[in-house]
């Protein structure tokens, strides 16, 4: 149990996917303009990450490894994630329209989000079991959520500032992200100190 909690904290805070490992930068820069879309996108990412990890872990362990077909990992995983996102979209639309209205618009964006493919492959590279993998996926999604929500707040402030002309827009956003990333260094060593 303690191991799972430490995996969760490490994934969400110390090894934050966006700010420390540069995965999922596109939505981080593109969809963080206001709080509402940042929250919707992140919740959709958490959901798809957990689901994709659960499915790909089973496929890798029970289908690819016993048949010696690990080299197909990349092709199979991206296909599974794309199909899964489609299925989730259809299922939500039919069964839970309220949730679909909240998350539906963000789902197609997630297929080509490298954080989702990244977390499924990282889990297997680290040799995690099923429960650890899902917890790690949830933690990574939580870290994404945290970064998105904080950054949407930062952006609403920088929107009205007047930087030098060439820095307007994206460069200013990237430099704000740099400072936010620096502040996440404060979490270094937190897991070792709490559970070590």
């Amino acid at each position: 149990m303690i191991k799972l909690v430490s995996i969760l904290m490490a994934a969400a805070l110390v090894n934050n996917y966006v700010l420390r490992q540069f995965l999922g930068i596109c939505p981080f820069l593109g969809v963080s303009k206001d709080l509402k879309s940042a929250t919707g996108m992140s919740v959709a990412v958490i959901f798809v990450m957990c689901l994709a990890t659960a499915v790909t872990w089973c496929i890798q362990t029970y289908l690819l490894v016993p048949r010696g077909m690990e080299y197909l990992q990349t092709v199979v995983f991206i296909l599974v994630i794309a199909a899964l996102v489609q299925l989730v979209e259809i299922a939500l639309k039919k069964n839970i329209p309220a949730l679909y209205r909240a998350l539906g618009v963000y789902l197609p964006l997630i297929t080509t989000n490298c954080a989702v493919l990244g977390v499924t492959i990282a889990n297997l590279d680290k040799g995690y079991g099923f429960a650890e993998s899902v917890v790690n996926a949830f933690g990574s999604g939580l870290g994404f959520f945290l970064a998105m929500v904080i950054f949407s707040g930062v952006r609403s402030q920088t929107e009205n500032s007047e930087p030098p002309k060439p820095f307007e827009g994206l460069p200013l956003t990237l430099i704000s992200a740099s400072i936010l990333s620096l502040s996440f260094f404060g979490f270094n060593g937190i897991v070792e100190n709490l559970f070590g």
Binding site: I25, C26, L29, Y71, T74, A82, A177, S178, I179
Partner: protein, 222 residues
Amino acid sequence: MSKLSNLTRGILRENPVLVLVLGTCPTLAVSTQASNAVGMGLAATFVLICSNAVISALRNIIPDKVRIPCYIVLIAGFVTVVQMVLEAYAHSLFEALGIYLPLIVVNCIILGRAEMFANKNRVIDSALDGLGMGIGFTLTLLVMASIREVLGSGTWFGIAIPWLSDNGISVLTMAPGGFIVFGCLIALVNKILGRKQSPADESYCAGCPSADTCGRFGKEVR
């Protein structure tokens, strides 16, 4: 459009990273060392040329409705080839690139060029476009990695530089340094090309391969 301009367009005027702002994740992640950056650039260039050529050759066969999944499978196939070749012949690079190697599949540059160029143009033009974009990507990575490696750890391609190696600004080799160097480079390109604001920021989603699928997303938020 002449063949030459297909090739040179990607290097500065339509540079995939600095102007179109595609493929930011690998750019930021592997640009800590010049040697890794060149390895990543060449791997992506190979995938880009192959996928552009094959997608262009198949552009009349692939049905329009399922084109994105088809492209993804083709790209994933070429990425697997690169993975296997690197694992066999350049194992240290394979280890250094780690998870970012399979993630070439979701590199927006490749899917973006397939969607924006290869499915409308002939095979030769598409391959040249892939080569040009690949060179632009590799050069950008090399420039970024050189700045971060020389100032951050005082080495270049692993060769120590006197004085600088004792006075490295180590934050540049870490995550915040990536963001800040990238931001400054885009500002510099904006200055050189004389733009007031990067167009990519105005129409951020236009460069993204999923822009078509999520067109309603763009409308709803703005």
